[in-house]
């Protein structure tokens, strides 16, 4: 062992091409030239790939921008439709006005415009028992929602159960869905059909508010939280002003929950700053610029009124 440091165990593979024994066989200059050519080639390749990446980035960015604009447009339409739905409902169900009204000051910070990431309204209690099996894909969701053919008036007055799909970090175990309202957790249990626990919340925005919320991670897609809202808020929504108290009472706040919930969470995760700014600007600028939507809305309202006149 001690002799190892004295022995020459080198294989003499001539790793140095400019060995002093063969200076004439390896012209130094040529070797240097070929090395720099290699480097240049590598640099060119890198530059090309960087350019390609930049082009791809620009393309995806512009696609993103288009998607954001489309999303804003759809949101505008959805919000307007929902607003009219609320108006119709408050006009058509004055009996709900008898419910106690609690006025409270609203925190403007609570009002965050957002997209409903997923919702199904007008479901019966029976259908809500299968809520965990809902998928967030469009066709699957349609298949489950559209068969719910209840009379319109019935769904208007009793649409008190709705489901929201909210993207959530899979590591987050808090089962919290931020929708602008204040909730008090009063229970949690493990269900048979889902490994994730289900949390139960009660609206604490007003003491007598009967709205309850169940939150559970989706069994099919653990990246989504499924929030089920039951009941109707008997107080102002987080985005309502005090002057709107009477018009807000008895309206379907179920969808309002959805409106505030999903998108805000999604944005918090993905594109906190920029997208919200763009959306708010677009929403403020044109709520009724879509003529198709206006026509569809007018047709829907007139159809609704005609149906009510018939009944």
């Amino acid at each position: 062992m001690a002799y190892s440091s004295f022995l020459d165990i080198s294989l003499d593979l001539n790793t140095n091409p400019f060995d002093r024994n063969f200076p004439e066989n390896f012209p130094k200059k040529e070797v240097n030239v070929s090395t720099s050519a290699d480097l240049e080639r590598k640099c060119l390749v890198k530059e090309e790939s960087a350019n390609e990446l930049r082009e791809e980035l620009n393309r995806v960015n512009s696609e993103n921008k288009k998607l954001t604009e489309m999303l804003a447009t759809v949101w505008e339409n959805y919000y307007a439709l929902h607003h009219h739905l609320e108006k119709l409902q408050s006009r058509n169900s004055p009996e709900i006005d008898e419910q106690p009204t609690k006025k409270r000051k609203q925190d403007p910070d609570d009002f965050l415009l957002g997209f409903p990431v997923g919702l199904s309204s007008g479901k019966t209690d029976n259908s809500s028992s299968n809520e965990d099996h809902h998928h967030h894909h469009q066709h699957e969701q349609k298949n489950q929602l559209l068969p719910c053919k209840r009379p319109v008036t019935d769904s208007f007055n009793k649409a008190k159960v709705s489901t929201v799909y909210v993207p959530a970090d899979s590591t987050d175990t808090s089962l919290t869905v931020k929708d602008g309202y204040q909730w008090r957790k009063y229970g949690q249990k493990v269900t048979r059909d889902n490994p994730s626990p289900r949390a139960y919340f009660r609206c604490s925005f007003a003491p007598s508010c009967p709205v309850k919320k169940k939150v559970q991670r989706s069994a099919e897609d653990p990246s989504l939280l499924v929030a089920t809202y039951e009941g109707t808020h008997n107080h102002l929504g987080p985005n309502a002003s005090e002057g709107d108290a009477t018009s807000q009472v008895g309206t379907s706040t179920v969808t309002l929950d959805l409106v505030h919930g999903g998108h805000r969470l999604a944005l918090e995760k993905n594109e906190r700053g920029t997208m919200q700014d763009v959306l708010v600007q677009q929403m403020a600028s044109s709520l009724t610029k879509d003529s198709k939507f206006t026509a569809a809305l007018a047709a829907a309202i007139s159809g609704r009124l005609m149906e009510q006149a018939r009944t």
Partner: protein, 39 residues
């Protein structure tokens, strides 16, 4: 380093793109559901 940064940014934007697409799909679906309810 520059290339790596570009790749990272591209991945981020792609993920954002995917989320936006999903949200748009759901939003359209929700809108249609609401419209059918009104009708």
């Amino acid at each position: 380093t520059n290339t790596n940064a570009l790749v990272d940014e591209l991945n981020r934007v792609r993920a954002e793109n995917k989320k936006l697409s999903e949200m748009l799909t759901l939003m359209c679906d929700n809108y249609n559901v609401l419209r059918k309810q009104l009708m």
